[in-house]
Symmetry: C2
Subunit: 469 residues, 2 copies
């Protein structure tokens, strides 16, 4: 197994890419990969279609084999049927190709033991030549930072935005779902990688690479089964607190455990054991795909709280209560304000509001001046480490939203502000939310519970970060 | 406490509505309520603004008091400060007003015991005259079926669609959030009601009314605290299995429990005790606002499964595994197909696909003919009671989606089909999904886990339904 990153760089930033199995039939993946690679207007790579039966694809000259290519090939993407793959890998070795993405299925994941033998053969060839392989049984990878979409989903660049999260997914299907889900969540990615059967690049190797990657600040992993858990945990522990790593591990049930064995050729194992080991290694664990993205977004865009004490400020009682339930269940504390802040709040808000933590503005839900002053007091409160904000806007108060941002200017200690704002405003409102999020002023979530959950993950990571070496 | 529905009908279907505290200042709720009531193009009610200081509001003649109104008043909406409310309720009694929505805050929910006294006084006046009151401390109610928006959120009709779900929320803030969330979830409501402090109409009374309401097929409740749990459980048990009732109860934590006491004047109580009692009474319980809507949608639009056996058919392994985890944790079973169906599937799909349950199409993910045939076999399988379907579409296979619906035509036994489909298509795609949902062909959820969760709730409700009297 490779552990150095020499070849890895060529997976993500190749200067030349050979598409072995390029096609001009839109129903073929070899067409879609060509489309993905040639869509970028100013590519930093050269795309070379390989197909012995064609002369030109998408206006680009086709060569019959990588051995006929005159220039160096940094990356080869292989799409041919499984039985042809060892031969093509041999050609790549001979051509000194530096990295391979193997999209083809029909290896370790199939019932027929021949698949396993074939994968072993490919791995041995690649390991001997020190060529890292993504796959087989992978949908490829998308370097969102550079625009290099080496997947067969040519729509990806229209769906996925640039950002700081590297998504490392065993499953191509789930990687697709995460991409689509991210569209309305203001989540951006640095890299999206589908590891597939992990021929010689497993989670541990990729983690090592992504830790060094300057475009990546958060690593989100979707795991089905792990062949070498010790190696993964060792690498994770070694990088503890350097960048947040979030894990969504499926295969918890009897059925999906055995499905994992079928699908990607590895047992998923007892989840309870994994969960404990993950935590010990400084990995954050989550329980659903939405939570993986929610938490990744928080860790990518928010500051970390210095302590567990949360202040809740809500226009109405309900959202505050729903959030408090989550906070208390996940280790956050809804503590009283210090006496100085409480006195100030008592002067700002009328007795008919609930002025203690969690603060419920009650009939003052609509009073922007009181809201702004209250936020300023709470952000300075010595006990409070973070703020949860819940407002429901409608035509009677929607203008308040746009003047709210002034209140956050004095967040001098950088306390995380996580909100769940709702408004009927559409585009203008969404742009303002996005701008607040991208300026690291606050984060917005669709429900109070998800806001509280994201904040709890920030606090969990703060504790991991404190233990870094 | 009233238990008959005589006056309740006037809350939802009044012919004449007096707005006591109508205003022409857009910052006042009395303006927003007027706007809400007068926006409907063909209202089935007459709106009468009441304000001693004005002659005309929004082109409508204003009267100084309900006592000056010549016609009968079915519903009065009261927006004046709390101390004025008992006097106005007395006028309503004198005028023989049939129902009241009391939006005003400052009653049982405030620290000052005067608030509690005031609420008692109002309740006594109303009970004596048999006038049902929604509120105080309520944002009103929206009869979505008739278009009568008696809330101060005049944007509601642009956000919320007509449907079969009655949303019964203690909190106006949460009712607003549910409304906004529903917008992208293809969820429609019959009624949205914010109960507030429950002066003399509590969950139990409203449940009784909604059970008889022809527009309502599912009841979704958001509860903070319950004054009279026995009464609620009694009514729920009495209607067991007649219409699904889903409960999201907050106030589980120490802090939010005491917040509940402050906010709506009732202790929320130990959640574990409630949960057991809810289940015994045939109520479905959920753990988040998203889950409340997800489950309400399923129960509003889907058929019920006849048994716990789920077939999973997925284009990729990952989504199937994530769903299987949820299925097994929530009482659904991923059982083997019967031998006849298995033989057929073995003939349809190549050995490289995983053909046993959960089915992973593998390299056939793209083959629409195989997909359609597989669906038809599974829908006829004697062991399978429901089907989970997971496909990720992109430009290479997006056309498949539109021919998929043929496969569902032979769903002769009416097995529930719950999907998580993802596609880059935008409007055309969304319309097709909505049409499939509204034709009761299938339901679509944003993630495989949420699809599985919704299916598990259908099975839970089937068991409740089997025990109906």
């Amino acid at each position: 197994m490779r552990t150095n990153n020499d070849g890895m760089e060529y997976l993500f930033n190749p200067k030349s890419i050979a598409v072995i199995g390029a096609s001009e039939n839109p129903e073929k993946l070899g067409y879609q990969v060509m489309k993905s690679l040639t869509m970028e207007e100013q590519p930093s790579w050269n795309t070379i279609p390989i197909n012995p039966g064609k002369k030109e694809i998408m206006g680009i000259k086709v060569l019959p084999s990588v051995l006929e290519v005159k220039e160096e090939i940094d990356l080869a993407i292989v799409l041919l049927p499984a039985y042809l793959v060892p031969g093509k890998v041999k050609e790549c070795v001979a051509k000194k190709v530096k990295a391979i993405i193997l999209i083809t299925t029909g290896f370790k994941e199939i019932e027929d033991p021949q698949g396993n033998d074939l994968q072993k053969e490919v791995a041995e060839l690649a390991n001997k030549a020190k060529i890292p392989i993504i796959g087989p049984n992978s949908f490829g990878l998308f370097n969102v930072s550079s625009g290099m979409n080496a997947t067969f989903n040519s729509d990806f660049p229209t769906i996925v935005r640039k950002g700081k999260i590297a998504l490392l997914s065993q499953s191509g299907g789930m990687a697709g779902i995460f991409g689509y889900l991210s569209k309305n969540m203001n989540i951006g990615f640095s890299k999206i990688i589908s590891l597939g059967n992990r021929c010689n690049v497993d989670f541990a190797e990729m983690l090592g690479y992504l830790m060094e990657d300057l475009d990546t600040e958060v690593i989100a992993m979707y795991i089905e089964g792990i062949d070498n858990p010790r190696q993964l945990l060792k690498v994770a522990a070694q990088f503890r607190g350097r960048k947040p790593i979030i894990v969504y591990k499926v295969g918890r049930s009897r059925v999906s455990d055995s499905a994992s064995q079928s699908h990607t050729g590895s047992l998923s194992g007892r989840y309870e054991i994994y969960q404990g080991a993950f935590r010990q290694a400084g990995l954050l664990t989550v329980d659903s795909s939405i939570e993986l993205l929610d938490v990744a977004k928080a860790l990518g865009l928010s500051l970390l709280p210095k302590g567990p004490n949360v202040a809740v400020l809500s226009g109405q009682a309900g959202p505050a209560m729903a959030a408090c339930d989550v906070c208390e269940a996940r280790g956050l504390k809804i503590s009283p304000f210090n006496s100085e802040s409480q006195t100030k709040l008592n002067n700002i808000l009328p007795p008919i509001s609930i002025r203690t933590n969690p603060v419920d503005l009650g009939p003052s839900w609509n009073n922007i001046s009181m809201i702004k002053k209250s936020i300023q007091v709470i952000l300075k409160d010595k006990i409070t480490s973070s703020l949860l904000l819940f407002f429901v806007f409608s035509s009677v108060n929607e203008d308040n939203f746009f003047s709210l941002s002034e209140a956050f200017e004095r967040n001098l200690e950088g306390k995380p502000i996580i909100a769940s704002f709702h408004a009927p405003l559409g585009g203008k409102w969404e742009n303002e939310i996005r701008s607040l999020e991208e300026s690291n002023i606050l984060l917005n979530y669709p429900t109070p519970e998800r806001a509280a959950m994201a904040l709890a993950a920030l606090w969990e990571y703060k504790k991991i970060w404190d233990l870094r070496e």
